[in-house]
Symmetry: C2
């Protein structure tokens, strides 16, 4: 219940932008210029403060506003979207520097996109993929390359990942019958115990580094099994294929106009409910209310939803201190290390050669590539993920040296034309102060079993959103939506 | 070289307390009342700011002051000592709530104590220790109980720990020939691969939980091997026995008057060079200087030494952002979870029965105990560590329930007299905002191999101290001294 001194209407009445009525009807047309504030006074009291204007925080805020409660979103950056960020090319086409893909069973992000008038298109996946491992170069289709030297290993690993992940409850992986055993093992250890050919481990690296920005050595087997289990929905169990795959998988489709359209349109609906350049420094709880201190002032609320990555939640000064079990968890969920490199060409010339643009390579700066061309193929874009140990090696070299190596890798995949792009764009998420890495936080051995149960536990008046707290598609935009919705429901029930 | 605008004398001339001359001669007698400030103006410029008034920061500050440079220590708490904290009992005797033990090869803390007029005494280790495992209860002497069911396992583990740790360079464990392999493995996994009887793993838990506040599941094998390697000095290789042992080991001796006497006397020498209640929020570097913002204002310096636990260093707002490799490391060094429980009796009655007060127990809230009586045995004190999963289980229960269980465990060890102490004292380091855990930060699999090389790398004008950065006795008071000395040397050479 909110304290009587906290307005139940707050900004919704006072904002004057007319973007959202108290009853929750959306008035703003999709694409309307957003009215977030970057300066000026904030309200002194609202029903709920949301920390972070990524998709999760914005979804939570909208749901609370629709319930007729006043809400304020405090965002550290001068933009919304968090780990979702568009980049406009010279010809006006938009590509993504951050989270981009959507796919089947990601019904929450897909429904949100549709509601916002944001359309999707199929990721280009025609023709052959390319697999380069040692002396082997082969074209193939599907998710797993049919390299005869690793086929048995790979099939066995995939079968085990699917079988074991079904024993992991998505909302409580720490309760799996073998949780203690699986959480004591790094993925690297497990792979080595279950493979004959070391090249198989390299192949799995091509999946793990882009997906997690992390090497198998740093990752708990229980965490990986849980992550695969979440690659589904309430009626469709997660599988490795759906988690790793393109057509029919997590990389099935992209957003026309770029995925950041979704948070941009959400923010436009919310108007001056969204305060930018307002990093939250302190959260103080009393029995009656919670006070949030940002660089733009203090706001008192009945409830707070924290929708930022775990390491950033740990940075906030908590009064009283978070319960130790919770604080210890937040200390143990570091972000992956990931960058994206996009080379732009006049056209996606590889398609002529019957190539999809997708590739897996076991050495050099590039482990996995995708065709990142806009839907009209007005230009051709090849995109590479550089994550984990590959990022540590290549992400810290001079930009021109890295670019040369990336383009050489692209040339190995699609031919020498790749060496002469018309543009080249990089985005390294480890350089982002308000993300500190991407795509998601990753649990080392021991973390989920010991501390995982805290992940969604409200702490008095504080609730938790963000894709890391999702029980389906954690680490993805869909998980961000689901987590925002769930946190909003918690808060609305208590306001 | 310091910018000319930054005073080379600074506080040393201006302070007016006369505790330390510019030439570095100590004038204050040991034990003099400290003159740290808790309010009032800080200087606007000094040669070096030290963040954190634990032993490491105070040692660094004193060394810089002795070199004739001005220095200011900014401490978040209203006291000095960090994880080293005295507690005075009703009869005036002093026990430690934090770091307490010293031992052979810890020459730096021992030399510092001697210089400060602080004396040590042998930890009581006469008579028999007690070992309780399942249905076995036995008295024994030495470090490893001769339980016949685990003797072969334990001897093998100890031999391997000693053998393998000698292959780990203390200053660069990531360069060990098998670093990649060892860092991919949790200690739990390694123990299971190398033991027949599961009770052996329980025994190792009795060492690991007090030493690290962490379970073997959460800890990299490479980290443990490195930690053992650091339990020595430049001429004496570390061993498991020295790391785990009492007489002749890490728990050989204690400090008369309590270990916090050391930082208290250091602070008294430094006088108003030490500013309390001054948590550091922001560190901004330019080409010419570095500006440190604390709750007591801004100070500009030529160099900064950060001497706080890694999770707290990660909380500081860094401008520019720390190099990503460094930031990723700081995100991956969480603190252990540890509390100390002391029961106080009229006298150490267990000594009459030929018991040392030391015990290892494989269940319940207490895994390891020590005789924590003051040197005059004016009262008797039994002390238990509760760490890792035992802390997660028992540290979060009501205090009276925990106390009852701890006293029952003590009674199992030394008899029913233990049930009726005259006093009972607990200290849980996970509740400490400016430590967030104890005794040290612990690396999960993958961290040291991937990010460890950053640990002491200066970042422009910022240098790193704190026991976590030590190459001998990391995690101990001796490591704190060594790290402070090394960081001070780095800075002095550059001022």
């Amino acid at each position: 219940m909110s304290p009587t001194s906290i307005s139940r209407r707050g900004l919704l009445g006072a904002a004057g932008t007319g973007t959202l009525t108290a009853a929750g009807t959306l008035l703003a047309a999709p694409g309307v210029a957003s009215a977030e504030t970057t300066s000026g006074n904030l309200p002194s009291t609202v029903d709920t403060v949301v920390v972070g204007a990524g998709i999760s925080g914005l979804v939570a805020a909208r749901q609370i506003a629709r319930a007729g409660r006043s809400v304020l979103v405090l965002e550290a950056r001068d933009r919304v979207g968090g780990r979702v960020l568009n980049h406009t090319l010279a010809n006006g086409s938009v590509i993504e520097s951050g989270g981009a893909f959507v796919g089947p069973t990601q019904d929450h992000i897909l429904a949100l996109a549709a509601e916002l008038g944001v359309q999707t298109f199929k990721e280009y996946a025609q023709g052959d993929n390319v697999y380069i491992s040692g002396s082997i170069t082969m074209r193939y289709t599907g998710t797993v390359p049919p390299d005869p030297t690793i086929l048995a290993d790979a099939a066995n690993l995939q079968l085990q990942l699917d079988t074991l992940s079904k024993q992991v409850p998505v909302d409580a992986p720490w309760t799996a019958a073998k949780a203690a055993e699986w959480d004591a093992k790094s993925v690297d250890n497990w792979i080595k115990e279950n493979t004959v050919n070391p090249a198989t481990a390299n192949l799995l690296l091509c999946y793990l580094q882009p997906c997690f920005g992390t090497d198998p050595r740093e990752m708990s087997l229980l965490y990986l099994l849980w992550y695969i289990a979440t690659a589904g929905d309430e009626t469709t169990p997660g599988t490795f294929e759906r988690s790793a795959g393109t057509s029919g998988g997590a990389q099935d489709s992209r957003v026309i106009g770029g995925s950041q359209l979704i948070p941009l349109r959400l923010a436009a609906q919310l108007g001056d409910i969204v305060a930018l350049k307002a990093p939250v420094r302190k959260i103080e709880q009393t029995a009656d209310s919670v006070t949030v201190t940002s660089d733009r002032g203090q706001v008192r609320a009945s409830r707070v939803i924290v929708a930022v990555p775990p390491p950033l939640a740990a940075k906030i000064d908590w009064y009283p201190l978070l319960p130790p079990l919770h604080l210890e968890l937040l200390q143990r969920l570091p972000m992956g290390a990931l960058m994206k490199c996009d080379a732009v060409y006049n056209r996606p010339f590889w398609r002529d050669a019957g190539l999809s643009g997708m590739a897996l390579i076991d050495s050099g700066p590039v482990r996995a590539t995708f065709d990142n061309s806009p839907p009209d193929a007005g230009v051709g874009v090849l995109m590479a993920f550089i994550g984990g140990s590959t990022w540590r090696d290549w992400g810290n070299r001079p930009a021109d040296e890295r670019q040369t190596a990336v383009l050489q890798a692209f040339a190995e995949i699609v031919g020498p034309q790749a060496l002469t792009p018309i543009d080249y764009v990089e985005h390294d998420w480890t350089h982002e102060r308000w993300s500190t890495g991407a795509p998601t936080s990753v649990a080392a051995p021991g973390v989920i079993y010991s501390y995982g149960a805290q992940i969604r536990q409200p702490v008095a008046r504080v609730h938790w959103a963000g894709t890391e707290t999702a029980t389906y598609w954690s680490g993805y935009m869909d998980g961000a939506v689901r987590a925002g919705e769930r946190a909003a429901q918690e808060v609305i029930a208590l306001l």
